[in-house]
Structures are given as C-alpha cells and as structure tokens.
C-alpha cells in the first residue's frame, strides 16, 4: 500500500529538507515500521516527538491503511 509521510520540526533533516515523501509499505504496516522503512530510526532520535495518522495523534505502534498520511513531529518547546 502507499502512504505519505510528512515530517515536522527538526525531523525534516531526515528527508534532507523535504517535508514529505510518498512511500510504499506492506499491508498491516505500523507507524513505527513505516518510519523505519523511510529511514527514520525513531528510538535513536533524542528529540523525537509524536506521530499522527490523518491528523490525529496515535501511538507509534498503530496500524496504517492504504492512502493514509503519517505525520512525525519533533518535540517543541515554548508556548
């Protein structure tokens, strides 16, 4: 299946400054697995924040469906 990964905050560096990429992932893929396939080894990123599927915060192990948008955020501070 095909999904779009969008990066926010300092995570953009993992796509060399691009804010999004469309990639192919296996059926029943989780957010975590999709990020790893895109080259984002999130447990090793100190400032990794949270993920959202289709604009809604989810757990890193939640599953994706065909056509989903997966957003990954770095932590932000301030207010």
């Amino acid at each position: 299946m095909v999904i779009t990964i969008k990066l926010r905050g300092s995570l953009i560096k993992y796509f060399n400054g691009q804010r999004e990429k469309t990639i192919e992932v296996p059926l029943d893929c989780s957010a975590e697995e999709a990020l790893k396939l895109a080259g984002i080894d999130w447990p090793k990123i100190e400032n990794f924040g949270f993920v959202a599927i289709n604009g809604k915060r989810v757990m890193i192990y939640d599953k994706l469906q065909d056509g989903d948008e997966l957003k990954a955020y770095s932590k932000i501070s301030g207010g």
């Binding site: 926010r8 905050g9 400032n47 990794f48 955020y73 932000i76 501070s77 301030g78």
Partner: protein, 586 residues
C-alpha cells in the same frame, strides 16, 4: 561575581528622585537574576496585603548576569510586581532590546516606586535620569507613543511603554517594548499605569565585564553553534510559534469555542502556511540567535506575529477561521497594550454566555468585527468594555457561567486544552501567577512526546515540578524559552563563564527549586492555599467530543491527586503551604 553591574537604579516617582545602590549579591547568589531575583526583592520589600494598584506596589525591571554578553537568546527582561489581576506575585519576560540597554546603562535592575503626580515618562541614559512630561503621549496607543519617543530620541533608544489599557488600570494591561514585544500577563501594564508612568526610554553605552573574555566568547560561540543553532531550536526561525498550531491540532489540545472542545477542521485556513504567505520581514531580540519574529502584512494590517496563543484565542476558540481577523485582533491588542490571552478569553466567555442565553453581551462566536471592537472598549473601559475589563473570574461571579470561566486565581487560561494533557491542568493550577503555560509546559512531555501518557494522573506531580524547575532557572538567567535544548549543565557552564564562580548543574537545579518556593511563599503570605489551585468545572464535567482525546474529562479526584503529588515533591504540606523550615531557607 562578574557578569553583574553590582548596581540597582531605584526610582522614587513620588519624589522624582533617582538613587543607585549596590546589588544584593547575597541574594543574587541564591536567585541569580531576572525572574528569581526580582521575586526575592519583591518578597523582601513589599508589605503583604497591599493594593497592587497603589503607590505601595513596586515594578521591577530586572536583567541577569548573562544580559549584554554574547550568550545567545539572553536578551529578555524580567518585569515583576504584585499582580492586580490575581493578587499573586507576577513576573513576565519581555523580548526586544531594553534589557541590554538597561545593562549597558550600568544597572542590573530598575526599581520603580511610588507614583508620579501626573502622566510622565522616565528617561535613562547611563547616569542621566530625568522625569519628563507625557501629556502628549497619554491616551495614545502604545505603537504611536513609542514612535513619537523614537522620533524624539532616535533608534539607539529602547522604549518600554503602556497603551490605553494600562492608563485605565485594566488588569489585562501589558507592557510593550519594540512595538510588538510584551510583558503580557497579570496586568503589569496596569501597575505601570497606576504610577502615571507612560513609558521608560533607555539607552546605555557601557559594557559588561566577564572573566577571561577571549576564552569565554570563544566557548560561548561553540555552544551557540553546537547547541543553540541545532534544528531542534531553529524551527522557530521558519515559522515562529505558528508551528505549534499544527502540532496542537493533531495532538488534540487546540481549544475550540471557549474550551468547549478541541480540534478545528478549518485549521488550514489560518495556519502557519497561510499566515506566512504575507511575511514582510523577520527579526530577533537582542543577543538572539533564533530570530522568531515574523512581520506580516495583510491588507492594511501590519503586525509582528501572531503567536500561537493569539492565533488560537482569536481563531478556533472564538469560532473564527478568518486569518485577517486573527492578525487584526493581534495588532489592535498590542497597540492597546492588552494581553491577547486574557482579553481574548474574556470575549469568548462572553460569546458563550450570549449563545447560551445566560446573559447577552452582544457578541457571538465568529463575530470578529465585534471581537476587535471589544478589545478597544476593554482597553479604554468604555461601554461594554468597562464590564468586560473585569475578566472572567469577576464577571462569572457576578453573572454565572463559572463552570466555563477558564481561569485560575483570576488569570485566564492559555491556549492548551488540559483534557488533552492532564498535566497541564496541574501546571495551570499551581503556576505562581495564575493560569500560565510558561511555568511548566506539560504538552512537551505528554502530547508532543511519548514520555508520559496524557490522560492519567500518574507521575504528573514530578513531571510538572521538573518542567517548572527547568523554566525557573532559565527565566532567572533570562534566557528565551525557544532555546529548548538548553539543559542544567549548559546553564551552569554559561553562569561559570559569565561570573567566574563555579556553578554546577546541581546548583542550577537548587536555584530552580528555590525560585519556585519563594514565589509560592509570596503567594502564601498573601493568603493563597491549596483551595486556590483550581481548575474550571468544565474540565471535570464535560468530555471532549473530538480529537485523540475524545471522551476525555478529568476526574476531580485525579486532579486533586496530581496537586498532592506536586506538593509532596516540593515538601509542601497537604494545604500547599511551605513549612517554616523551608521558609527559613529562602
């Protein structure tokens, strides 16, 4: 210690006298500067129970030992006094360049006492201090007043001013500098207005002594390159705090319709991408390495910002998705010298009161022409504005609607929905100046990270304490919040470089705890206890309908449990009071 000027400028406005005195270095060693040191001075010098709008209140502009050095993000100024909005201690952190000017003029702080006999402004240039007439400035918006003063004195001078809101003693009045930077919360503008003080014009041509300057400057530059300017901090250059909007939307903490729900399907109509299409220019504060300021031009409106708070309160929380109205509301509030959060929250409460038929305040959700008009009326206390200027606490006590009067101790809620981030309800409740997101920024751990789940009370006391301790140190060094990766070790190293005294991370942590405690001690002396660390009933009684937190409301017992956890971490009793043994250490 070096880094300080060892010099306080004390101004008696009643007598029009200016004197200097040595800095209390023994206090500086315990509280450092800015937030912590200004609260210590006020704790020692203000009698309990004074009227914050009386000449007995003091207004302190306090720098820190890093101010005026090459340390990045060190250009903020603490402005502190007793708050007329809450009756608590209140310290604010204002950007711009005034902190550097005060320090280069040779002062660690300016302490303003008493009251002028008629509207005036203060002129400070090194050791030249004069008291000037403000008849031509009084009544003018903060922007026009600042422009007139810059016209008169030149761009080397920094202006700290109030708008009409400060002049009418509106408790939502802020203090402005550099046109669009504010000491926003708690009514510090009203304190300045109560002293008949329209502005302070300041310039300084001196410097700051630090030990081993060559080595220090080299090391500070390394720290800036290795830490300050990494992507985790520089995202604010790209969009300022507009970046928060998307994160809060997806994270389920963007408030909607006076905190009656979260998430807004129209958020892309006013998000950072849309707003920044109208970008005209950028700027940063003194000594800043990050440059978060965005100047927008939309139609005939030019404005720096809007920041996330101002976007949210005039956007989804007001039932509005028109970005021009959001920018216009920001510009008007800034010129009037009004806190966008408190004024906005009051208007949106009034919208809900009208919608529910409890009381007709003549404004409904989405009516932004009226929202903007009401900002002016509140600032000038004219018409309906005279009532709305009371703020949601007093208004709801008078008319009802207390369940959705989103405030703590009389300070209105910042724009993070706590049912989506339970620790934020605690942070708001125990903040030293009423509901504030700048003491402990809970979403950073509960929502924007996977560190700790958002919808549970477990661990929240310790979490809020750790965040509050970190910010208390940072704001006592007067470093900007946006240097988000700054840790205790780096702060200790910067203090060592600037002062020549050896500081450790443990020392920094101790200072942070001490600052939290002295602020609490001030409030405790004013009569505040655990019963004042509250949350609006909306959080307990109404579940969110949308977003990842759909179905969530905070059980009241969970909220009380979080409070007790926090008190226990700090060694306070069950009533949130410092014991005598702890008070004696302050």
């Amino acid at each position: 210690m070096l880094g300080y000027q060892n010099n306080i400028l004390r101004i008696n406005l009643t007598k029009k006298e200016a004197k200097t005195e040595p800095l209390r270095m023994d206090w500086a060693e315990k509280y450092i500067g800015s937030k912590g040191l200004s609260i210590k001075y006020l704790y020692e010098e203000l009698k309990p129970g004074i009227d914050p709008l009386s000449p007995e209140n003091k207004l302190i502009f306090m720098t820190g030992p890093l101010t005026g050095t090459s340390v990045p993000c060190s250009g903020k100024l603490a402005i502190a006094g007793k708050s007329p909005a809450t009756g608590t201690i209140c310290d604010c952190s204002i950007g711009g360049h005034s902190a550097l000017k005060i320090k280069y003029a040779g002062y660690d702080a300016v302490i303003l006492e008493g009251k002028l006999d008629k509207p005036g402004y203060l002129f400070i240039e090194n050791d030249k201090i004069t008291f000037e007439d403000a008849a031509e400035l009084w009544g003018k918006g903060s922007h026009e007043a600042e422009a007139m003063l810059i016209d008169k004195y030149g761009h080397d001078y920094s202006v700290i001013s109030i708008g009409p809101a400060g002049e009418t003693l509106c408790t939502m009045a802020c203090i402005n500098s550099d046109y669009y930077r504010q000491a926003g919360r708690g009514g510090m503008g009203a304190v300045m207005g109560s002293k008949n003080l329209k502005a302070v014009v300041v310039n300084g041509t001196g410097g700051v002594k630090i030990p081993n300057i060559k080595e220090a400057v080299k090391r500070i530059a390394e720290i800036e390159k290795e830490d300050t300017l990494q992507e985790d901090n520089t995202f604010v250059y790209d969009g300022g705090t507009t970046a928060f909007l998307e994160a809060c939307q997806d994270g389920g903490i963007l408030p909607k319709l006076n905190f009656s729900d979260t998430t807004d399907e129209d958020w892309t109509k006013y998000n950072g991408e849309v707003l920044l299409e109208s970008l005209e220019g950028k700027r940063g504060c003194g000594s800043c390495g990050l440059g978060c300021g965005n100047f927008l031009k939309m139609g005939d409106v030019v404005c720096e910002g809007p920041e996330y708070e101002s976007i949210s309160v005039a956007g989804p929380n007001a039932g509005n998705s028109d970005p021009v109205a959001i920018v216009k509301a920001n510009q008007v509030a800034d010129d009037m010298g009004l806190d966008t959060i408190s004024a906005g929250d009051t208007i949106i409460w009034a919208m809900e009161m009208t919608e529910k038929g409890i009381r007709d305040f003549g404004v409904r959700f989405g009516e932004m022409d009226k929202y903007i008009e009401y900002l002016k009326l509140i600032a000038r206390k004219e018409g309906i504005g005279a009532e709305l200027a009371l703020g949601v606490k007093k208004l709801s006590e008078k008319y009802g609607g207390t369940d959705f009067a989103m405030q703590v101790k009389g300070l209105e809620y910042p724009q993070y929905e706590p049912r989506g981030s339970w620790g934020m309800s605690l942070a708001y409740a125990v903040s030293d100046r009423g509901a504030c997101h700048m003491r402990a920024y809970a979403p950073n751990e509960e929502v924007f990270a996977a560190s700790i789940p958002p919808y549970t009370p477990e661990g929240k006391g310790e979490m809020v304490f750790n965040l509050a301790q970190w910010n208390a140190v940072k704001f006592s060094l007067c470093i900007c919040d946006f240097w988000g990766t700054l840790n205790m070790e780096l702060m200790a190293e910067l203090m060592t470089l600037a002062t020549g005294k050896e500081w450790t991370a443990a020392d920094m942590a101790e200072v942070g705890t001490r600052v939290i405690n002295i602020a609490r001690a001030f409030n405790q002396r004013e009569g505040f206890t655990a019963k004042d660390d509250t949350a609006p009933k909306r959080l307990f009684n109404e579940a969110l309908k949308n977003g990842p937190g759909a179905g969530q409301k905070i059980p009241e017992e969970a909220f009380e449990d979080m409070k007790q956890q926090y008190y226990k971490v700090l060694g306070w009793d069950e009533n949130g009071m410092l014991p005598e043994s702890l008070l004696a250490t302050l």
